[in-house]
C-alpha cells in the first residue's frame, strides 16, 4: 500500500503545531540507525508540557524507537547511530558532553511488560531515590508518596516492606513500576505500551492513573490500542515505516485526519 521511497520524501502533516515555548521536548530532524538499517527518518516534533502525547502506528513503525531515543535507552543497543537533536528543556541530550545516565535520571520510563526488581515493594520504589542519595525518613516518605500517587498504596500498605514486588498481580506490578518511575519526580514520563500485558480492569486503572499523572508530569505513551490513545492523550503522533506521517490534537487525528495513511490506519484498513 505504501512504499518507503514515497514516505522518505514525506513532510509530516501537522495540525496546531506545538509552539516552542510550550515544548518540554523538542525533537529536531532525528534519524536513527540500528547498524545499517535505518529505523527513524528525519523526525521533527515537539512534546508539550503537562500533556499526554500518544504515539501510534503499525508494528515496526519505529514508535518504540522514537520513545527510547527520548531518554537515550537506545544507547544500550550495540551498533546504534543517531543524527539530529533531541532538546530537553533546551539542552540537546545527544550532545557529547551530556551524560546519558543524567538524562535517564530526569526521565522516567515504564515498559511493556511489568519488570519489577526481585526486591521488596519498598526497595523497588526506593531504587531510583537511593541512586540519587536519598536516605532515612525522607526516603520512606517519598516511597509512600509514590505508591499513593500510583494508586497502589491502599493495596500494599500492610506488607510493602516485606513482600517481593514479584508477588503482586500483573496490574499491581505495572502500578509498582509506575511508582518506581515517578518516585524520583521525573518531569517527563515515557510509557512503552504499558497496558499491553494487562487485562481490561488493570488497563482501566492504569489509564485513570495516566490522566491523573498529567497534572504533574509530561507523558509520552506508545500504544497499539487506538481507543487507549483516544481516551488518554491530548495529542497523537502517527508513524509508519520510521516516518512521522501526521501529528496533531488527538481529536483531529481520530476524527479528521488529513493524511490518507492516517485515515486508513485509524479506520482499521491498514496493513
Amino acid at each position: 500500500m505504501v512504499s518507503l521511497e514515497q514516505l522518505k520524501e514525506h513532510q509530516t502533516v501537522r495540525t496546531d503545531p506545538v509552539p516552542e515555548s510550550q515544548a518540554l521536548v523538542d525533537v529536531r530532524q532525528l534519524s536513527l540507525w540500528y547498524g545499517t538499517k535505518q529505523a527513524l527518518y528525519d523526525i521533527s516534533v515537539r512534546f508539550p508540557k503537562n500533556q499526554v502525547t500518544a504515539i501510534i502506528g503499525p508494528s515496526g513503525c519505529g514508535k518504540s524507537t522514537l520513545l527510547r531515543s527520548l531518554n537515550r535507552m537506545n544507547d544500550l543497543v550495540p551498533g546504534v547511530r543517531v543524527k539530529g537533536e533531541v532538546l530537553y528543556e533546551g539542552v540537546n541530550i545527544y550532545d557529547p558532553r551530556v551524560d546519558p545516565v543524567a538524562v535517564r535520571r530526569h526521565i522516567g520510563m515504564v515498559f511493556q511488560k511489568p519488570n519489577p526488581f526481585p526486591k521488596t515493594i519498598f526497595e523497588n520504589v526506593a531504587f531510583g531515590l537511593r541512586l540519587m542519595g536519598v536516605k532515612g525518613s525522607e526516603l520512606e516518605d517519598r516511597v509512600v508518596e509514590a505508591l499513593k500517587r500510583a494508586a497502589l498504596w491502599e493495596e500494599v500498605k500492610d506488607r510493602f516492606k516485606k513482600e517481593s514486588g514479584l508477588r503482586l498481580s500483573g496490574g499491581q506490578q505495572q502500578r509498582l513500576c509506575i511508582a518506581r518511575a515517578i518516585a524520583v519526580e521525573p518531569p517527563l514520563l515515557l510509557m512503552d505500551e504499558p497496558t499491553s500485558a494487562l487485562d481490561p480492569i488493570a488497563t482501566q486503572a492504569i489509564e485513570d492513573l495516566i490522566l491523573e499523572l498529567k497534572e504533574r508530569y509530561t507523558v509520552v505513551i506508545v500504544t497499539h490500542n487506538m481507543q487507549q490513545a483516544a481516551r488518554v492523550s491530548d495529542r497523537t503522533l502517527f508513524m509508519h515505516l520510521g516516518v512521522l506521517v501526521e501529528e496533531g490534537p488527538t481529536e483531529v487525528i481520530f476524527t479528521k485526519p488529513k493524511h490518507p495513511y492516517t485515515e486508513a490506519y485509524i479506520t482499521g484498513r491498514f496493513g
Binding site: N71, M73, L76, V101, R104, P116, K119, L131, S164, C177
Partner: protein, 300 residues
C-alpha cells in the same frame, strides 16, 4: 462412534525406545547405588573394630602406628584448611570474572571467554599439583619463613585457580538468566553499569551464585591430586597453613597405593574416610540444590 472404541496404543518403536532409554539410565543409578552399598559393607566392618566416638573425637589419625588411632579430625581439618584457602582465591576472582563476563563483555566475546575458562577447568589436576609443588611452594618459601615443602597454603592457592571456572561459569550463567527487562528498568532509572551489575543483577542471581560457590567448595573438598602432591601426607590437627597436613582425599590415595593387608583395620579405615567424604559432598550438593530451588526468583 468407531473412533472412540479404539484403545490408546503405543507405537511399538515408541515402546522399544522407552525401554532402552529406561535401561540405560538405570545403569547410572544402579552403579551409584552399588558403590554406596559396597562402601557401606566395609564401613560397617570398620565401625565394628573402631568405636564411633574414637572416629569422631580422637585427635590423631595414625592407622599404621603400633598403637593406631583413628580420629578423623586431622583429616577434616586438612580438608577444611585447603578448601578454605582455595575458596578464598576462587570466590572473589570467580565472582569478579562472572560480573565482567556477564555484564561488561559484548555477547559474542562472552561465549569465547567462558569457553576458555572451561578449557582451563579441563587441565588435569596433576599438572596443577606439580605446579604447586615445584613452582609455587619455592616461591612462597622465599617470603614465608618456616613453610614446609609440602603445605596446604600452596596447594590451596593453586586449587583456587583449578576450581575458579566452577565459580565463574556457574555464576555467570546465573547472572545471564536474569531477564534483560530488569536490567533495562535499572538503566532507565539512571543506574550506571556497575550499579546495574552489583545492585540489581547480582542480588537477583544470588541463589545461583551461592550454588556456584557451594559446588566449587564441593569440588575443592573432593579434589585429590593437587593435595596429594603438594599438601603432604601427614595428618596433623592444625589450622596453620605452613605445616604439612593430609586431607581425606590424600589419605585415601596414600592408603590405596600403600600395602595395608586386605581385611586389616587400616584397610577398612580407607572406606570410613571415603564414606565421610561422600556424605560431606552429598550434603553440600543437596544444600546447593535446596538454595537454588528455594530462593530462585520466578519472573513470570
Amino acid at each position: 462412534m468407531e473412533i472412540l472404541k479404539q484403545r490408546p496404543s503405543r507405537h511399538p518403536v515408541e515402546r522399544l525406545t522407552l525401554l532402552v532409554l529406561l535401561l540405560l539410565s538405570s545403569v547410572t543409578l544402579l552403579t551409584t547405588l552399588g558403590v554406596i552399598l559396597s562402601l557401606l559393607g566395609d564401613v560397617v566392618q570398620f565401625f565394628r573394630r573402631v568405636p564411633l566416638a574414637e572416629f569422631l573425637f580422637a585427635p590423631e589419625w595414625t592407622p599404621l602406628f603400633a598403637e593406631p588411632r583413628y580420629g578423623i579430625a586431622p583429616l577434616l581439618a586438612g580438608t577444611f584448611l585447603v578448601t578454605a584457602i582455595a575458596l578464598f582465591v576462587a570466590v572473589p576472582l570467580g565472582l569478579a570474572l562472572a560480573v565482567y563476563v556477564s555484564e561488561y563483555l559484548p555477547s559474542d566475546k562472552r561465549a569465547r571467554v567462558l569457553g576458555v575458562l572451561e578449557l582451563f577447568g579441563g587441565i588435569p589436576t596433576v599438572v596443577f599439583g606439580y605446579f604447586a609443588l615445584l613452582f609455587v611452594t619455592p616461591l612462597l618459601q622465599k617470603v614465608i619463613p618456616g613453610l614446609s615443602l609440602f603445605n596446604p597454603l600452596s596447594a590451596g592457592l593453586v586449587m583456587g585457580f583449578a576450581i575458579l571456572p566452577y565459580v565463574s561459569n556457574v555464576a555467570a550463567d546465573a547472572m545471564q538468566s536474569v531477564p534483560r527487562s530488569i536490567r533495562e528498568a535499572a538503566y532507565a532509572l539512571g543506574a550506571r553499569p556497575y550499579e546495574v551489575a552489583l545492585k540489581v543483577v547480582l542480588p537477583a542471581a544470588l541463589s545461583g551464585v551461592i550454588a556456584a560457590i557451594i559446588l566449587a567448595a564441593s569440588r575443592a573438598i573432593g579434589e585429590t591430586m593437587i593435595v596429594a602432591i603438594a599438601a603432604g601426607q601427614r595428618p596433623t590437627l592444625t589450622l596453620d597453613p605452613r605445616e604439612t597436613i593430609a586431607t581425606m582425599t590424600s589419605y585415601i590415595v596414600q592408603a590405596a597405593t600403600g600395602d595395608q593387608p586386605v581385611g586389616s583395620t587400616a584397610y577398612y579405615a580407607l572406606f570410613a574416610v571415603g564414606f565421610t567424604l561422600f556424605l560431606l559432598t552429598l550434603a553440600l550438593n543437596v544444600l546447593a540444590q535446596y538454595i537454588v530451588e528455594r530462593y530462585r526468583e520466578r519472573y513470570e
